[in-house]
Symmetry: none
Subunit: 226 residues, 2 copies
């Protein structure tokens, strides 16, 4: 799921943005000052940042500049107060990708966010069906079957299998799985993944102890060969 970080010290605005972004089904992280914002950009690797210009501890300027100086390319939408013409220019010069002037229309901000994401992270289309051998998995119905037998799969299993299927043939690291399937903040041990993979194998492999499809790449991760 696409992850957006909002850095804004005004609680009311922050709340409003969070609600609206969540309603658009983004995963939303928040920070109310520049320092926490910076840490989150580094550690949580959001797909996009909405950044207020005036912030406690570290201003939007500084934050933006610092992030760019360190080579991070995370797209940034700057929020500026009306009339801060110079700020606009600065914002873009510092490496922000777009800006919106307060008071802004939420709809406009959302549109800009969408556009920016589309430009920078064209998201590979979600796969909604997987077939191999006599196994069929339908990710929109959350149904799976093998031959004539229905298979019961859990949400995490669907998520895991889906990511593997979207990168069929390529190795997916445990880290990637945690990031994509679990999302930020709810990150369990990597051992947990092994368990989910094991139970997936029990369900989709003919001989689960000698997998032919869902393969281990020792020291790296897993891959699905179809």
């Amino acid at each position: 799921m696409t992850r957006v970080l909002v850095v804004e010290d005004d609680a009311a605005i922050l709340r409003g943005l969070k609600d609206n972004l969540e309603a658009e089904s983004y995963e939303v992280l928040t920070a109310t000052d520049g320092e926490v914002g910076y840490q989150l950009i580094r550690d949580a690797a959001p797909d996009l940042v909405v950044l207020d210009l005036m912030l406690p501890k570290m201003s939007g300027y500084e934050l933006c500049k610092k992030v760019r100086d360190e080579g991070m390319t995370t797209p940034i939408v700057m929020l500026t107060a009306r009339g801060e013409e110079t700020d606009r220019v600065l914002g873009l010069d510092l490496g922000a990708d777009d800006y919106v002037t307060k008071p802004f229309s939420v709809r406009e901000l959302l549109a800009r966010i969408r556009a920016l994401l589309r430009r920078t992270n064209p998201e590979p289309t979600a796969l909604d069906e997987l077939r191999f051998d006599d196994v069929i998995v339908d990710f929109r119905r959350y149904e799976a079957s093998r031959g004539n037998e229905k298979i019961k799969m859990t949400r995490k299993e669907f998520g895991t299998l889906r990511l593997l299927a979207e990168r069929a043939g390529l190795v997916v690291t445990r880290h990637d799985l945690l990031k994509e399937v679990w999302g930020h903040g709810h990150e369990p041990t990597t051992r947990t993944i092994d368990n989910h993979v094991a139970s997936l194998r029990a369900k989709i492999e003919k001989d689960p102890s000698h997998p032919k499809r869902l393969l281990t790449v020792h020291g790296v991760g897993y891959k699905l060969d179809v």
Copy 2:
């Protein structure tokens, strides 16, 4: 029959795609250069185009851009060589709807074609009646019956059932239900939905505690299987 145009200059790949698509019972048109491709898009109005990036006479870029500039919305799947990251972005910006990286698995391409067709030619959803077993629900009259008995249903129940019916078989999240049935701003707890579902089950299921139609997908939402 669904008509697919493949524009690809490599004869072997073209042949392979044609065979596979025909095996899936698509009607297949082919072109080996951009100009012929363009004419076919215009004159034969295919339902979907598979477009190679590198082509004689007119490249995939140009073709895609030209088609979009002229206002045609024909879904396009772009074939790109691996590693052409920038091309991906360009492809999508130019208006391609999806892309597949060479060397690609035919199976994956077929899956994406199916998905894209489904996304772009969705069946119209203005559903005004739902029937299954001995239950009949008329969404225009706000009436429902089971066998000869009338069923009293509330507005929210109609709304909930209708959304589920419009996406019959697919999982609908609580979030979707809140957004569609309750609308923006008036959003109650997700628990509320469980209650409405429960009362729907009491009305339309033969054995409400072992539902056969209105099913729970643990951790995701509900779906209606008809």
